[in-house]
Every structure is written in structure tokens, then in C-alpha cells.
Amino acid sequence: MVIDVVQVCGEDIISRDSGRKVRDLILSCWDEPSIDVIFGGRRVGSVSFFDEAIGLLMKRGKKSAEEIGSKLKFPDLKPEDRRLLNHVFSARVQEIKA
């Protein structure tokens, strides 16, 4: 299963509203063995988007960090965005554990 973020969200790949669209789509196809989230070479750079789309899969989607980490793939995510995503996501993991 492939989710093309630019196709889903258009030019807005930074807002929480767009993040929520992506999260809802991820949850709707959660039964797929693997989900590739692609960005078409675009830079995201948004804490809000990553938190809403991926970080809140735990709190709102009731999925575990391990499930999310193994199911979701980000094949074309830029290295600087991957680092930001990991930071935002791990902050949510810490909150859940606390």
C-alpha cells in the first residue's frame, strides 16, 4: 500500500489538518502488511504535520510504537525530515511511557 502525501494533501504538507488526513488514511489501511508513505521529493520540515500524521497514531489511533515502526516505511523521506520525524515521534513515545 502506498500513500502519496502530495496527492492527498496538495501543496499543504505542513499543517495539522493535512497531517490528520494522512493519519486517517494510514488507519483506514492498517490491515495492509506494509504502508509506504511517500512525499514526492518534497521537504516537509513541519513538527505539526509529523506529530499529527504519525505521532498521534499512538494516542488517537491506539497503535503501539513498535507496530507503527515496523509497518510504516518512508522510502523517499529526506534525511533531515527523517531525523525530525524520529524526534517528534519519540517525544510522543516518551509521553505514552510516562
Binding site: I14, S15, D17, S18, S46, S48, I68, L84, N86
Partner: protein
């Protein structure tokens, strides 16, 4: 016909924000009149000046006011302001897009971060910006843009970025004429009657204005990045005036005598430092992806 002559200070920098906020109030109070933006005394140009000029021209036109510009007597300032004069003459075709060698101004009407990347790319043609500094700037500017577009209720904002003189500080101003941050906070937290308290808790506790939803993380990253960058963050909204000088360790929250309907955020970013790298490294908790 009623007329308003708005004189700008000799040094139109963020230190003189009160004169810009007063100018907005005067233009808002005038309809089908004449607005004269008198820049004759200014001897330098700043991102906050350009941002407010774009906003005042746009605001005047929306109030059906005739608008004119008195150019600066200072030659270099006058040359820089010529680009703004085109807006007054309506030569911009309704778009606000000014591309100068060391500064850029735009009116942004959506959550499109590509505009921010374009601004940094163009400024980077004449000013050395490291990859790490650029990454940090993108995160800061993206969060400021989504806040302005999502929370102001206006769905548009004015931005200007530039470096002046030999400074290695990039100045970035973002202005909207929406409801303002304190008012927006009160839609979820009515107990925040005081604008300064609302801004203080937004920055310190991460209040979110999204009813029933998550949020409030953007300003945490902005502050953490600017703290490590030794930059500055100014926020003026409603009656709150916040000035955080991370380079000097000075943090001030003040109350303005009159309210500003809108939000002006101004950052100063040290291009010889970054911020995001250090924050992520210090706070690293593990990789999942």
C-alpha cells in the same frame, strides 16, 4: 476626503514596533480616504518595515483608500523602497512578490512551505547559509506559517526575510491581521483574560488553540532552536509584547497600552549557527524510522 499621513521613524526597526502598530490602527479607522506613507525620514530598510508596508498597502486598498508613498531622502533606502512603490501603483497585479538581492517579501495565502524554501534559496544566492542553518530555519518558518494561516482566521500573511549590511543575522518578519493569538487562545481557554498571560503560557506550557485536538508543539521547537542559535524572537499580538533575546539572556513579557488586531512575529537568526541539530542531539530518544 479624510487623510492620514503616517510618518515612519528614522530607524524603522523592530525596536520601533509601536509606530508600526499605530499605523495599522490608523489605516483600519479610515475608509474611502487617503493614506500617505511618509518614509522621508528613514535611513535604513528592515524586514519589519517592508512587511508592514506590504500589509498597510494591502489593508488600505481593501478599505478603498487612495494610497501614496513619500520616498526616503536617504538614497540607498529610497532605492530599496522602489520595489514597494510598485505595489502602491498596482503594478504587482494583486500579487505581492518582491525579490531583491538580499531580501524577499511575499504575501502568502496558504500553507505552502515551497514559498519559504524559495525565499531561502534566493537569499542564499547572495548570502552563505549552511545546510544546518537552513534546516533549522525551515522548521522555525514552517511552524510560524502554519500558525499564521491556521490560527489567524485570515488565511493570508505577509512575510519578509533579509539580511542588512554586513550582519550575519537573518531577519524574518511575519505579519497577519487576524484575530490575534490571545483572542484565539481564549476560544479554548476563556480564563486567559490577560493577553500577556496567554502568550506566556503559550510559550512556556505549550497551550494549543485546537479545541479537542493536540498541538502546541511548534513554539517549543521554535524556542529550542532559537535558544541554541542565540537568536531572538519577538511576538506582538493583542496587547501582548514578547521579546526573547537568547543572545543576551533577556526575556521580557510586557503589556501594550493599546491592542493590535493581528500578530507580528519577528525572528533574528544567526546564520553562523544552527539550532535544530543541537536540540535533536541533546534530546535524542531513539530512531523508529
Amino acid at each position: 476626503m479624510h487623510s492620514e499621513r503616517i510618518e515612519f521613524p528614522r530607524q524603522p526597526t523592530i525596536a520601533y514596533i509601536d509606530s508600526f502598530l499605530k499605523a495599522v490602527r490608523r489605516v483600519l479607522d479610515l475608509s474611502e480616504g487617503e493614506v500617505v506613507l511618509d518614509l522621508s525620514r528613514i535611513c535604513e530598510v528592515s524586514s519589519v518595515l517592508v512587511c508592514f508596508l506590504c500589509g498597510l498597502v494591502d489593508l488600505s486598498q481593501s478599505k478603498k483608500n487612495r494610497i501614496s508613498l513619500v520616498l526616503p531622502r536617504n538614497k540607498s533606502a529610497s532605492k530599496a523602497i522602489l520595489a514597494v512603490q510598485k505595489l502602491v501603483k498596482g503594478e504587482d497585479g494583486g500579487q505581492i512578490r518582491i525579490a531583491e538581492r538580499t531580501w524577499q517579501a511575499r504575501k502568502i495565502t496558504g500553507n505552502n512551505s515551497a514559498v519559504l524554501e524559495e525565499i531561502l534559496d534566493l537569499i542564499g544566492e547572495n548570502l552563505r547559509i549552511s545546510g544546518e542553518a537552513r534546516d533549522s530555519l525551515i522548521v522555525v518558518l514552517t511552524e510560524l506559517l502554519t500558525n499564521a494561516i491556521d490560527h489567524s482566521g485570515e488565511k493570508s500573511c505577509y512575510v519578509c526575510a533579509g539580511a542588512w549590511g554586513r550582519s550575519r543575522m537573518l531577519h524574518f518578519t511575519l505579519l497577519d491581521f487576524g484575530m490575534g493569538i490571545p483572542q484565539k487562545i481564549r476560544t479554548r481557554y476563556p480564563q486567559y483574560e490577560d493577553d500577556v498571560d496567554a502568550l506566556r503560557d503559550l510559550l512556556k506550557k505549550g497551550l494549543t488553540t485546537r479545541v479537542g485536538l493536540e498541538g502546541g508543539r511548534g513554539y517549543r521547537y521554535i524556542q529550542e532552536i532559537l535558544r541554541r542559535n542565540k537568536g531572538r524572537l519577538h511576538i506582538f499580538s493583542g496587547r501582548a509584547k514578547v521579546v526573547l533575546k537568547y543572545d543576551k539572556g533577556e526575556y521580557n513579557y510586557r503589556r501594550a497600552r493599546k491592542a493590535f488586531t493581528g500578530t507580528c512575529v519577528d525572528i533574528q537568526f544567526n546564520l553562523d549557527a544552527a539550532g535544530l541539530d543541537a536540540y535533536v542531539a541533546e534530546d535524542k530518544k531513539g530512531d523508529y524510522f
